[in-house]
Amino acid sequence: MSHEPSGRVVKIEIDGRVVEARTGEFLLAVARRAGIDIPAICQHEAVDPAGNCRMCLVEITKASWDGWSRLVTACLYPTEQDLIVKTHSAPVIEARTVLCDLWLARCPDSAYVQKLAAEFGIEKTSYQPAAVPTDQCILCGLCIRVCEKLGPAAIYTVNRGGRKKVAGPFEGPPPDCIGCAACAEVCPTSCITVAERDGTRTIWDKEFQLLACTTCGRTLVTIEEARYFGRKGGLGESYYQLCDRCKRLQTAQQATKVAGLPLTVGGLGEASGRPFRSPGSLTTSR
């Protein structure tokens, strides 16, 4: 669902503070802009909100509602005039507490879930924890939405209800996966494993050859990723022949040649230790 705020400026109240927003704008964005913290797991600025995790539940009411209120997910609720929002009321905290308790039962081994639950005072789940070590996925669906947004749409949910999980077609290595690892990057519980060794990357049980910089030999992106984004972005595969640093060096060399100046590598700054990011990669800023 595409979402366009209709733009009229209105005033709403969040936790006692009057905040300006445009009608139709999602509450979570409004609150964050005002510096009000609402926890959210399955939300990411790169993709449309889905309302899967329910962590960003807030209580809303209006003066005209006769004391009636309800819980809505801030990530999806469109702002409207006179809304009164409570982000940490008792029903909200109760709901978040039970959610964390449920996740802890699902993924008892997940460090992320353990930490989250601890914030709500839960050390041990009230429910029956999964006996078999689970894959630590809480089915927030971020990986799927990111993969879809980038284009390959290689993974999706499989089954439904209590048997739902994230997987490739036939629950095997996804043929459309380009190995970009954006899914792993956004996964809150870090349950998508990416292994890099000897110039290869393995993700979703699929092994990819990594391209190496033709100059310095540092590994860049998978061949499939280079091909995919080279085509999609109209860059051509040659775009990925050099790493960022060597590319800058090359540009500088050419510039120097034109200007007839001597070149010192140090002048371009140290190569960063961070892995290369493709133009399609996403960064988390949670």
């Binding site: 879809e148 390959p152 749409a153 290689a154 993974i155 999706y156 949910t157 499989v158 089954n159 439904r160 490739g168 077609p169 036939f170 629950e171 095997g172 996804p174 043929p175 459309d176």
Partner: protein, 165 residues
Amino acid sequence: MSATAAAPAIPEPDLAPVDAILAGYPQTETSLVQVLQDVNRTFNYLPCHALEKVAASLGVPLARVFSVATFYKAFSIKPRGKVIIRICTGTACHIRGAPLLVDEFVRHLGIRAGETTPDMGFTLETVNCVGACAMAPVVIAGPRHHGGLSPADVPDVIQGKSDDD
């Protein structure tokens, strides 16, 4: 993907009918569920390569096709037996003894619900209400509805079907 032990590997069928099915629908994602219905009915399940064909033809990512194929209960991604025995487990059937029927079919066929006998003769399924509640408990064996069953009738239902074959 791991196939159930009870479902033996059978060769992928001739996929020509898939083209004919696809030709009858607009080539968009909107047709996906309807196309899969027809494919599922034609083959009694959704063959792997048929899904690939459908994905390519409708321009839907294969992962999404597989997602739809596993979301809806009408679809099977495993080959099914000649006779599909569907035990209704709707509420009316439940309180009139459907769970006992499930146990009896499991005992007689030696397979669990969702599985197929090694000879590909029978597939046992449970279905959440077929809307024949007035005749509870109901079992649909092949094309035939059986109403008002008791556990003692189970061998007859299985036998009856075998006789037809």
